[in-house]
Symmetry: C2
Subunit: 358 residues, 2 copies
């Protein structure tokens, strides 16, 4: 399968999904797991979060070919109780393991009210928000967190201490657009620094500090000599530590400097990322009708709040992303140049026939 694309010619969601599935199948991933992975990556692109979508397919494929990611991995529950489970990801794709894990958390929540599922032997899982939204679309509050290689410093430190450990949550609204927040606990996600570097753009001071602990606007220093700053100082540092606890300390996953980079480190070795997923069954606690009405009341209230000067709109978290997605489903996705370059880079890995525009 070959896709033609140029920046002024959007790619249809369907074609991009089929492209991802085809690539993944060719490196041994099952149809089901390829579909699950493509769903995460392409949905993320449709939301405009291009740092965490199909741009990363090339890196995942490199690891699948080298064996650090196992194409035929089977994530399995290795321990469980009424409201929790621990999952060994078998060094498979983070998207496959995480989708499985959130579904287990949702099942637990439907039985007991709450489900907490920890994951070890996973890898980079894309956008945390995807899994949170998975829960919300079945009327559960969803929370997803993960650890990563240290790239963020702490107050008083100069080098990396913790990962940019993401936190996402989604709140059901009764339609297919849950309230959705997906945030790094760094001031910005590393992907944004990489994206600026790829585009030869400067970054705002405050995003990273250099080897001396001073702010720098040069994204190319990251991650070799520069370190991300924690969001809101000690608060981001603290939240990242909570996330490390939930996703790695208690799951038995690799912690901090023991995690391998899914993009930089030897692709033949497993990264052993950790993750955790929480689902809360609000329908067990309050009628869904009342819950949705209360959410709708709050949303209306926020939308009608007085606006700051020069501001047209107060957005509900996720609203911007769902609007982009609705547009993409109709008109296709305009992939930015760095994503296109990454997808074209699959040719280095032996996917010549799949090249965009080649």
């Amino acid at each position: 399968m070959s896709l033609q694309n140029s920046p002024d010619r959007p790619i249809s969601v369907h074609d991009l999904e089929e492209f991802c599935c085809d690539v993944l199948r060719r490196v041994g991933v099952s149809e089901t797991d390829a579909r699950a992975t493509a769903d995460v990556l392409v949905t993320t692109d449709t939301c405009g979060v291009f740092t965490h979508g199909t741009k990363n397919l090339r890196g995942y494929v490199r690891r699948l070919q080298a064996g650090g990611l196992r194409a035929r991995a089977k994530p399995r529950i290795v321990a469980e109780g009424p409201a929790w489970a621990m999952i060994d990801g078998d060094s498979g794709l983070g998207m496959v393991t995480s989708t499985f894990a959130m579904r287990v958390a949702m099942e637990k929540a439907k039985l007991t009210g709450v489900g907490y599922v920890g994951v070890r032997n996973s890898c980079h899982f894309g956008a945390a928000g995807f899994y949170a939204a998975l829960a919300a679309r079945e009327n559960l509050i969803g929370i997803a967190v993960a650890n990563d290689i240290p790239s963020v410093t702490a107050p008083g430190a100069r080098g990396p201490v913790l990962g940019s450990n993401p936190l996402a949550f989604a709140v059901p609204t009764g339609d297919d657009r849950p309230i959705l927040m997906d945030m790094a606990t760094s001031t910005v996600a590393g992907g944004k620094v990489f994206a600026a570097a790829a585009l030869n753009q400067k970054i705002p001071a405050g995003w990273v500090v250099d080897a001396a602990g001073k702010p720098t606007t040069d994204p190319s220093l990251f991650p070799h000599t520069a370190t991300l700053t924690p969001m809101a100082g000690h608060k981001g540092y603290g939240l990242a530590l909570l996330i490390e606890t939930l996703s790695a300390i208690v799951t038995g996953a690799a912690m901090t400097h023991q995690v391998l980079s899914w993009s930089f480190d030897d692709p033949a070795r497993a990264t052993n990322h950790g993750a955790a997923f929480i689902a809360i069954d609000v329908g067990a606690m309050m009628s869904l009708k009342e819950f949705h009405a209360r959410v709708a009341h709050l949303v209306r209230e926020i939308r009608s709040t007085p606006r700051a000067q020069d501001c047209e709109r107060v957005f509900i978290p996720g609203e911007m992303e769902w609007e982009r997605r609705a547009q993409a489903l109709v008109s296709g996705i305009e992939l930015p140049p760095d994503v296109l370059a990454s997808l074209r880079g699959l040719s280095e890995l032996g996917f010549k026939s799949l090249l965009f525009g080649a």
Copy 2:
């Protein structure tokens, strides 16, 4: 009972507790509930978090006398499942209801692995971290959140949208000093702005915006015409919305502008704050010995990280507070002038014999 105190003469922890209990008993609070409340407030003072400790006793007493807080309230479970419960606080002291609620969450967690307990008809509960630490001291991860009257704006808005909705967590370490983080989702807690106003000090630009949405350094404008900013912009706004969901939307508590201020509004009316408490029984998921060892490994690693210039130490969240508490238990608490003034202010409420230094 009368306490003598001056700023250069610390008050013993025991004496301050007895003072609080005596005051609370005199307004009809039971011995048990007075002890529970004094424990929260005085522990908070020992940790040096004076904005959330005994300084607020005067405000609570005013509401107890006026009836907005019911001295003989009995918080009770009104609905529950295996891993969750909903508690009606019966318009009692937030400290009493919250201690009860976290203990229920801990019981649920010991049975199922995880416990989520929502609370309605509560009031200001002091420092969220107290309840998180309660869980951690029994080897559970503890999380505590609550809503409050809107005092924080949102990106694009100019007035208050959500409360400074606190989030606290504690991770057990195997000793009596859990990793502990207690943060407002505003850039700073409103209490810090009040404290600056009481001391006639300016505040840094960025803490609040004025009625036009512009930064101001005048703390006296808050909360009447100024509004707190969310920490890290849209991230703090998003987290506050998650907290509003967990503590108020699903609990049936008052939401946003329906919450009454525990300090400003008619003390004869119930504030109907919401809160939520989560406990996770790590010992069910991994041997406690291994969990503690993994936490200790991470703590050692963080402590040994290269330090920034002019920085002597990288603190673990909560470390500073536990060190202050250890010192206070030995040497007593040096209450700052605004706390002393507030405690002296109890005389206006008919506690002449209890005056500090009177």
